[in-house]
Structures are given as C-alpha cells and as structure tokens.
Symmetry: C2
Subunit: 356 residues, 2 copies
C-alpha cells in the first residue's frame, strides 16, 4: 500500500533543502517504494499566505500522512509579529497537535569531518550519542503562562514547568527501547536538587527502569554537570533522556560538538504520528543562495524510511550514499575543508542521487 | 574600621580549600588589612550538627558580616535526605536570605593552562568572559511548586518560572555596569521565542539599555544557540546576562571551556550583602585527601577584597601571586600537565603566600 508523505518546506533554506530531499524520495519511488507525496504550508510562509503559521489544512494533511518531512521555520522577516503568529508557533503547534512527545537527536561525528569540530579530535572522534528529548510537555506548554501587569505597575512574566507521571514514563520508555538496541546505557538529565518537577522526573525514570528494564544501566546527572561533561568528555554518553527545555539546550550543544550540525537529522515521534527535520534552523542569511547543506534533510528522510515507512533497506542505502559523497571529498560551504571540493545545495543533492 | 568576614567551609573539600584561603586572609591582616574573621556552619555539616543545612545563627552572622567566603556544599552522604534539609537547600537558602541577585562568574583562560581545555587552543586562548547570572528569583524560587497526586492516581510535578520587572532590571543594571568597565558589550540570553517570562526579560533588558545605557552594544540570543555559540566561538562573548536556570547551565559550560574549572572564583552580590565561592563543587571523591585545588577559593577571596572590602591593591597582589605559582610550574592534580610539578592543597596555599 502506498505511503503518504507530507513535505513542509517552511521558511528560509527550507525550500532548497526539501527540494533535494525530494530528489531522494523520487529515487526511492523509482526503486520500488510506493509513495504519495503532498506539500503543505508552515511557519512564516504559511503566515504570509494564510495569516497563521499553522493552517488547519496542514494539521489535517499531517494527520492523514504516514510521516511528515519538515525543512525549517523562522526568519528576521517575521520577528516583529505578535508571538501568537510567529513562525516558531507553527512548529510548536504541530508538535502538540500530533502529540510528538519523543524527539530523537543523534549526535554523530563523521570521521571525514572530525577536524571540523572546535574540540580536539581525540575528544570528539567516535562520538555517537542519541539525545532523547521530551517534546510535547514541560515548560514549553505548561499552564498558566503569560505576562501581566500588577497593581503596583510592575509586570510579571511567568511559565509553568509541569510533568505528569505518564508523560515522563512514555518518553523514558522510548529512551530505554532505543538503548536496548544500542549499549543499554541511559543517562537521565534533570535538576532534581532544585526543581520538584524534575525530582518526579528522576523518580519515574528510575521506577520504570527497575520495573521493566533491569538490564539498562541508568545514571542520573544534573543539567549543569551534563553541560560540562558534554564538553569535558562527550564520549561517556550513549543515550541521554531529558526534559523539553534541557533537551533543547543539551542537544544543540551535543550537535555542535560534532562540528557539522549541517549533517544532523532528527525524528519527532508520537503514538500515531511522526515528523522528521534537520537539527539546524532556517538560516535566513544564506536562504535562496543555493549554498545550504541538504544532507541533514536527506538523512532525516533516511530516518523516516527507517522508523515510519518500514523501509530500512532504503534508509541504509541513503546513509551509504551520504558517506560516499563525503568520501568523494564533496563539501557544502558549512563543512568546507582545505583540499576538498566546494559544491552548492543542488549539486550535493545530485551527488547523493548519483551515489545511490 | 575592621571588616567582618564570615567563613563557611561547608562540606567535602570545603574545609581544606577554605583553610588555604584563610592563610591569605591572615597574610592580608599581617599586611595592614583590619579583618575580624568568624566561622559558621552550612550544608551537610550544618545538618549533621544542628538538623538544618542553614542554621539561623549562620544567617545572622552572614547579615552582620561585610562579606561571606564559602567553600562548597553537598555530598553523597546526604543524598538520601529529604529535599528540604539537603545541603543544597543551605546554599539556595542563604542566597535568598541575603537577596544575592547578581552572580558573577568569570570564565578566563590562564595562558599557562590553555592546553588543558578539550577545545583547540586557538578557540579558547584569550577567553575572558563574565557570566552575570540572576540568582535569587526565576524557576529556582517561583511559587507554586511541588509534587501532588491527582484524583486519577497520576502524580504531577511542577515549578514556576517567574520574573518581575524589577528583578530583571536590577541584574541587567549590574551587567551593564560591569560592561561599562569592560568592552561595553552585553549579550542577554533568553528563550523569548517560547517562554513568555523571558519575553518580558528581553523587553526589560532592552528598555533599560535604551533609557540608561545607550553606549552599551546589546545583543540577544536564544539559550540553545548560546550553548552552541559557546562551543563554536566562545571569544565572541564578553558580558553575558541571563536567568537563574540558564545561568546555571551556561556558566558551567563556559567555565569548562577554559579547561581549568578548579581556577574559577565567583561572587554573589545583593544590595546589602555579598558571598564569594569557587565555581566548583564539594568533590566528595577527593575530600580529605589534601589534593584539591585551593586557587579558585583564593581567587574568590581576591574578588571579596576587590568588591566588598574596597581593598583592590590586596586583590591585585593575590591575583599576581596566583599567576606566579602557575609560572613556577606548580600544579594541583586537576590542572596537572606533563613536565610540571604536582603539589597538594596545602603546598599550593603555601606557595601563594610565599609569592605574595
Ligand atoms: C524554534 C524553537 C521553537 C525550537 C525549540 O526550542 O524547540 C528549536 O530550537 C528546536 O530545538 O527545534
Ligand atoms: C548546588 C546547586 C543548588 C547550585 C545551583 O544550581 O545554583 C550549583 O549548581 C551552583 O551553580 O551554584
């Protein structure tokens, strides 16, 4: 049966990088994958056309798709808009609408690019970690929140960090399941010495391990220490599981360690839906110039074939093709190194197709 | 008039490192500084003796002192205690009791130790930044907070991130004042694209700059990007100002970049009181072994002479003495390098006194 894929290019370089991923989808179709590919609006582009960063039509299309592949959202152009209609609200909105609670952010060092890191090669070579970030609860969505003016004239801004047992349990379960297929090691990151909400986080994660995953070696780390340990000795980590806010910060730090954030895909999974997108943003400064790196988006498509479409063989081929273009010394500007050949977005996409 | 100093050694290596700082205070007294030095209890040690990590007597003594010099709190020994009486609550409690809203955390690379960083020397050499962390409000103290059991049996853990106009304004003012004595560049870190409370943060910081510090070059950065930029190009930062929680994470990351967290002091300032402490923790694993690095505590004492006791000349001498022992190739275990001479805690303290 044909699988339905919804493409959401979004803003900035989103259009360009999704165009390259589309070439890979077309290749997969020509090679036996039955796909129905639609396109939808999200972010600033959606706002410009419809007045909202997340049109109802996009939610409906996403819910009837087997997977969503997203480019990126946001840009200076929309920064003076009201918060409620900013491009980012489109992204937060679709995560919530599809209940995508489990965000997988691999941080992997490509041997071909190891010297692109600002860290010493011996510290980063071989980094292969997976940050599992809770994505649909926590302080990103907790109520009450807002800004109000008090009787004395001062303003008060507030957000609520909330976690319920079941919200913690399901993302911890995802992390444990992933760890079972890797080294069976999970580090859960919280700030349980200060925040009661993450005291509950720690208790629930521990109880689930004890009850259902006794094989897992579980450790706990405070978020400030985790930020330090990522810099001091990143290779100590395999699977890391943490809250929405801490995951936002730590996964970005982890990806930057690799020196090639333009290479890193992500998956956002729920019980029913799934969305894939590169870790990097919409890079408005280089949008439309044809120089963006499409590989993170192509690797996000690979994750989609693996996790949502049950086409692991195709995913393996895409991963191999990406390695092959790196071996051919092809580089986009963001990962350019002395002695290599600089290519643009489309040329990089074409090289992947050729290597497939 | 004699200045009153309260020493709070606390737990773990706290006793050892404060003992070395005390040698420096004694030297200052012998060289004309009029000091009255008291000692008090805090943390696990205080709990063991009095049943609370922050005895009333400590608060009273701190309030009648011109400055507090603290070692460190915490340790495995107290980890199974109720949260309310854990050593960390002593630290949070004294920050709140003294209304220490402005936490200064310098991250400086010592040329003698630049190669101790896991980052490449060209990326870190010359790092000289100051993280200004809001320390007495935000999610660390916001109400309501707690863990409760819902009617359906699930537990709910929650904390509240709250900032009021005046709480933001006073710490932003501190950051601007510090920046006026440095390069007049401030980067304010928030998550204004998601959290309303930090939308207020951004607005208040900007309004204060516009109204009173037009000379300051103010930039804003989202916390996830800041975590990345610290790794990608830390030297772009001079003064960074941010919330309690983000400051906890980013200042630890910044200090780890330098490769010598055992060298970094901090100051926590309020309108009326001030507390100084090393950035590192109580290191229970090496407590009592006489190998801890006392230099961060000695440098904290230097900050105390400069900011609270108006004895900048003494501070200058202490800073020079610390540089001198490094130039003499003396190293404690945490900063040991090939070809240098490893010394213990007391020998390092004595070397500083000799260099004074
Ligand atoms: C754009 C922003 C709302 C988003 C987030 O904070 O989740 C982004 O930083 C991410 O990590 O996907
Ligand atoms: C011990 C802990 C409560 C404390 C904090 O989170 O503030 C520490 O990490 C610090 O940064 O001083």
């Amino acid at each position: 049966m044909s699988k339905r894929i919804l493409l959401l290019p979004g803003d900035g370089i989103g259009q360009e990088i999704i165009a390259e991923a589309r070439k890979v989808l077309d290749w997969a179709q020509a090679n036996g994958a039955e796909l129905t590919i639609d396109e939808g609006l999200i972010g600033g582009t959606a706002y410009d056309e419809t007045g909202t960063p997340l049109p109802e039509a996009t939610i409906t299309a996403a819910k009837s798709a087997d997977a969503v592949l997203l480019g990126a959202v946001g840009g200076v152009k929309w920064e003076s808009l009201d918060y409620a209609v900013r491009p980012e609200r489109g992204l937060l909105g679709i995560r919530k609408a599809l209940d995508l609670y489990c965000n997988l952010r691999p941080a992997v060092v490509y041997p071909q690019l190891a010297d692109a890191s600002t860290l010493k090669p011996e510290v980063v070579s071989g980094i292969d970690m997976m940050v599992v970030r809770e994505l649909s609860s926590g302080i990103y969505f907790g109520e009450p929140k807002g800004v109000e003016t008090l009787a004395d004239g001062r303003k008060k801004g507030y957000n609520t960090l909330v976690y319920h047992t079941d919200e913690i349990e399901r993302v911890a379960r995802s992390a444990f399941e992933i760890a079972m297929k890797r080294s069976k090691k999970v580090c859960s990151v919280d700030k349980a010495n200060v925040l009661e909400s993450t005291e509950l986080w720690r208790d629930v994660v521990t109880a689930l391990r004890d009850a259902e995953y006794p094989q897992i070696e579980l450790s706990h780390m405070y978020v400030d220490n985790a930020a330090m340990q990522l810099i001091r000795n990143p290779k100590q980590f395999d699977v890391m599981v943490t809250t929405n806010m801490f995951g936002d910060i730590l996964s970005d730090a982890a990806s930057m360690l690799t020196g090639s954030i333009g290479m890193l895909p992500s998956a956002s999974l729920g019980e029913k839906y799934a969305l894939y997108e590169p870790i990097h943003g919409s890079a408005p400064d280089i949008a439309g110039k044809g120089v963006a790196n499409p590989l993170a988006t192509i690797l996000s498509a690979s994750m989609m074939f693996r996790y949502s479409l049950d086409l692991g063989a195709i995913a393996d081929k895409i991963d191999a093709a990406v390695n092959s273009v790196l071996d051919q010394d092809l580089r986009t500007a963001d990962i350019m190194q002395a002695g290599k050949t600089e290519v643009g977005t489309a040329a990089m996409g074409d090289a992947v197709i050729k290597a497939l």
